[in-house]
Each structure stands twice: as C-alpha cells, then as structure tokens.
Symmetry: C3
Subunit: 217 residues, 3 copies
C-alpha cells in the first residue's frame, strides 16, 4: 500500500521524489508566513507538491491520479512540510539549498508532465502545456490558498523556464535521441536557466494598466 | 428529475441531506459578510455544500457527480442558503444550532467520502483522504471565494476531526461490524469531538515563520 | 494540429471563437491592474477564456477537453490577451467595444455549455447549470487569481443573464424549433438583457450580514 511502483526506478522517477519533497518544503515556508497550524502546513505541502500533477491528470483524463495510486507521495510531501517546521530555525542558512530544490521541482515536474502527455499521444502544444501545468500550477494553488496574487504571474522567470524546458525536452521525442542522455541534458539546461534567472533577477516586462474605471465581472 | 434516488434511504443518506443544507447555511453567513447579492449567496451555498464531494469525485474519477445525477442537491444547498438570507435576524439566536449543523455536515460528509472511496476499492490512506476532502474542501473553496486564507488551515480542530472520524469509521470495514451500528457510533464520536473542540477552543500548535526574505514563486 | 475542427462551422461555433478572444481581452485588463508580466497576462487570458468550459467538461466527464483537442483555443485566448497589452492605450476609447465583446462571451459560452450538456442527455437543471458554469466560471477564476472577491457574486446582473439565456435556449430543445433561428433569437435576447443591465445598472438585492462573531471554518 505504501510501496513505490516497482516498474519505474528511472533517474526521472527518483528525481521526482526529490521534487515532491522540495515543493512540500517551500510550501511550508509560505504556510509559516500565514501562521497556519501544523496540519494546515502539511495540507499546503501536499496541495503544492501534488496539485500541478493532479490538475494535469484531470485535464488529460489520466486516471488514476498519481497520489491515489501511490499514497506515498502524500506522505512524502506532507512529511517534508512537517520536517520544515522542525528545522525552521535553520532555514535562513539553507536559503541556497531551498532555491536549488525549488528549481529541481520545477524542472523535474515539467519533464514528467511532458512524458505523461506524450504517452497519451497528445499533440506538441498539449505536451508543452502539460509540462507547464505540472511544473507551475502547484505554486499557483499555494499562493491562492495563502491569499496572494500568484507570484507565477508577476515575478521572475518561472513559467518561462518551464516552457523552455518543455520545448527542449519535447524535441527529443522527434529526434529519437537516447532517452536518459536527453533527460539529463534537459535537466541541466532547465536548472541552469532557473538559477541564472534567480541570480541575475531576470524578469519579463510587466503590463501595468491603471486606468480606474468601473469593472465588469 | 428532482426526485431522490430510490435505492438509498439509509440513515447516512438522510443525514447527508441535512449536511448539504447545513453547509449551504453556513456559507450564506460568510457570503453576507462580503455583501454578496442573492444569487451569489445561493452559488456560494452550492459550492460550499457540494464542492468537497465534487473534488473527491474528480480525484477518484467517480462519475457521474452526485449533483449531476440528482440536481435536488443543488436546490437543497441553494435553497438553504436563500432561507438563511430571510432569517438572518434570527441567526445570532441560533448560533448554537449553526455550530451543531456545521458539525453534522463535517462528520457526515467525511463518512460518505470514506464510503465512496471504499466502494471503489481504494487503499486505506485514500479512504481517509477521500473523507477529508469531502468533509473539508467545501469550506476551503468558500474561504478562497470570500478572499480569506482558509480557516481550515489555521483555526480550531476541523480537519483533525475529519481525520479521526475517517480513521475510526474506516476500521469498521476491516472489523466487519454491523454497518448501521458503526455508522451511528462514528457519528456520535465525530460530533462530540468537534463540539468539544469548539467549546474548549482546542487548537493545534501553529507554525509561524516571519523571516522576511525574497520569495520564489 | 492547429487546425479548426472540420465538422462544425456553425454560427454558434464561429461566435464561440469571438467569445474566447473577448474573454482573453477582458482578462488582460484585469491582469494589467495587478501588474502581471506578459506571460502572466497570457496565462490569465487562457484561464479566463477556457476555465469555464474546462470546469464544465470536468463536471460532466466530457473528454477530451476542448482546448486539449484543439490547442488553437489556447493560442486564440493567449494571443488576444497579448494583443490587449499592445493596444492598452486605446482601451479607454474602446470601452463600449469591450462591454459588447464581454456580453458576447457570456451569452455564447452559456449556449455552448447548454448544447454540450444536452448532447450528453443531461436533465434540464444540469443543462442550465452547465450553461452557467461555462459562461461564468472563467470570470470567477480570473477574480480569484487576481485576489478579489469574485464580481460575479456581488455585481451587476451577470449570472442572472446566463440563467435567463440558458432557460430560454433550453426550452427550444423541447419545442423542436429550427435550431439556427432559435440560436439567433437567444443570442439577441441574452446580449440585450446584459447590455441593458450594464446601461441601467440593474442589480440584485444584496445580503449584508455584519454581526461580528467568531467564525467556524
């Protein structure tokens, strides 16, 4: 019941376990800023880490959902969030580690999202969108539940990293390259892009529309 | 078209009708605090009362959804919300009644959620999660739509009641006890736990993380 | 891959393309008020324009989703949002055009939602609800992502227009009228109702409940 799926011990699968834990941890920090209680922290960890994949599976009609089939994902995400509570005092020393973990989560989730759409014979645009939803939607849910405007929509390059990673990864399907090699190449590219974007504060131009007028729903 | 399903007049089913109405009513009070219009109040009643079950059904791939098959649920939730508008002046006298109704909603929804997951041969963790989603997610949707941080994540024992109720109820499946008896036992336990938590303001410890640092999405 | 479905060039289908673009544009204005970046604007356009139909399809189990089958919808909604960024300076001169476009989106989405539920042999209440979800839920998602209380719940007649449009349209199924004629009649009625509501600021009564008391989650 709590065992891992026996069929898939690939590099990508193992990385995705790291990614689930990483997203659970970053969610816990957001939860702490809103003074949530312990169970709320664990919930937010699960929703953030597994929400993107859940939305993707709902959109594609891909049943059963990953965490329904392997509840270990719930334990992993919730457990990582809980661990973050215990080591909160260390967090400011681990800031770099969190940024790297978060980047791993983004890139790995994007790749798994592309994989699953591809296995369902989706078209290229949907493969890319599937990667983006898997990589980014969890963070959007986290921000909505914390009552923020999602940072995805207005902060550093995050969705852009997901799009570029997905595009790069998806071309491999057409090129029939060695799968493991391509996975590693995409991973390195995505992580590097994300970390450079954080380091140099790359941003997209913003759209500011301030005319105060009556709004329609 | 508006009739109840003929096959199921069990205690749990009748209680679930009470629960739908109860959740619609508590949603109406939240809507009133945000000055929603009458139709908005009815919508929020439906979303709160049926949102948890809807999410559960989407997660489990359990079609058709309850309210699609029996639109009476929509009428019941929306009608209860509308009734609350009419009797708003009495609400402060009925505060205790609302707390009890809300507790009934929580416990009964949790049990029906467990039932449905169990009928779909889900594993024990998913049975518990299914109960929790059914019992708690409607209130989370309500708070998000009212632009609040969900109270579930930071207030009294609510999700905890759902977890304990689900665990207690799920063990019955293994023990092959008399179903009606176990249903009633679980109901009494859950309601008592919830009402005691409200009465004595039991709370979980909170995780407060205030270090102001730049956030990643 | 990017082509339109060959089978359906009906009036309603062509209008629905206009509606998708219109909703993407109104979403862009909301995004601009929150200073989202360019990619965020395009995302919000897609979510607003396609979110209602997506929720409807999830509720009804109607797979594949429209935008998964025809990713052109994503390009259309995102492209319309992006175009709005470029012509933002003209927007205040085009206010009337936006109001009309928005009304077209509401009415056309409501009709397509009714159509799809009807094709799946849903009962009359579900046909109406399906129209409402398709017409209105996208705007609710937009407001939640912009961290507002959804205007749907407290502003001018918007959901009411959707209900009336759906009811009027659904009766045609029973009356076996000429389909094209009835589509046009419903369209004119819905648009007129919406524009009159905007023009004369028709509103529903609001439910205001201010008693400050402790809230339950």
């Amino acid at each position: 019941m709590w065992s891992l799926p026996p069929s898939d011990y690939s590099v990508l699968h193992l990385l995705s376990l790291v990614a689930v834990a990483a997203q659970g941890m970053t969610a816990a920090l957001a939860a702490g800023r809103r003074s949530m209680d312990w169970l709320g922290v664990c919930f937010l960890g699960c929703i953030t880490a597994l929400g993107g994949g859940t939305l993707r599976d709902l959109f594609l009609g891909h049943y059963p959902l990953a965490w329904v089939q392997n509840p270990i994902y719930l334990a992993l995400a919730g457990g990582a969030a809980f661990l973050t509570i215990l080591m909160a005092r260390l967090v400011h020393r681990l800031k770099l580690a969190f940024i790297v973990l978060d980047a791993i989560g983004l890139v790995v989730f994007t790749m798994t999202g592309c994989d699953i759409a591809w296995q369902m014979d989706a078209t290229l645009p949907i493969v890319i969108v599937s990667g983006m939803v898997t990589g980014c939607a969890g963070g959007v849910l986290r921000d909505v539940l914390c009552n923020d405007v999602p940072l995805l929509f207005r902060s550093e390059l995050y969705a852009s990293v997901s799009v570029v990673t997905g595009l790069f990864y998806a071309t491999a399907f057409g090129l029939k390259l060695n799968a493991e090699l391509w996975t590693i190449l995409t991973f390195v590219l995505g992580i590097s892009f994300r970390l450079l974007a954080v380091r140099y504060k790359w941003e997209m131009p913003k759209f500011v529309f301030t005319e105060e007028e009556e709004r329609e729903p």
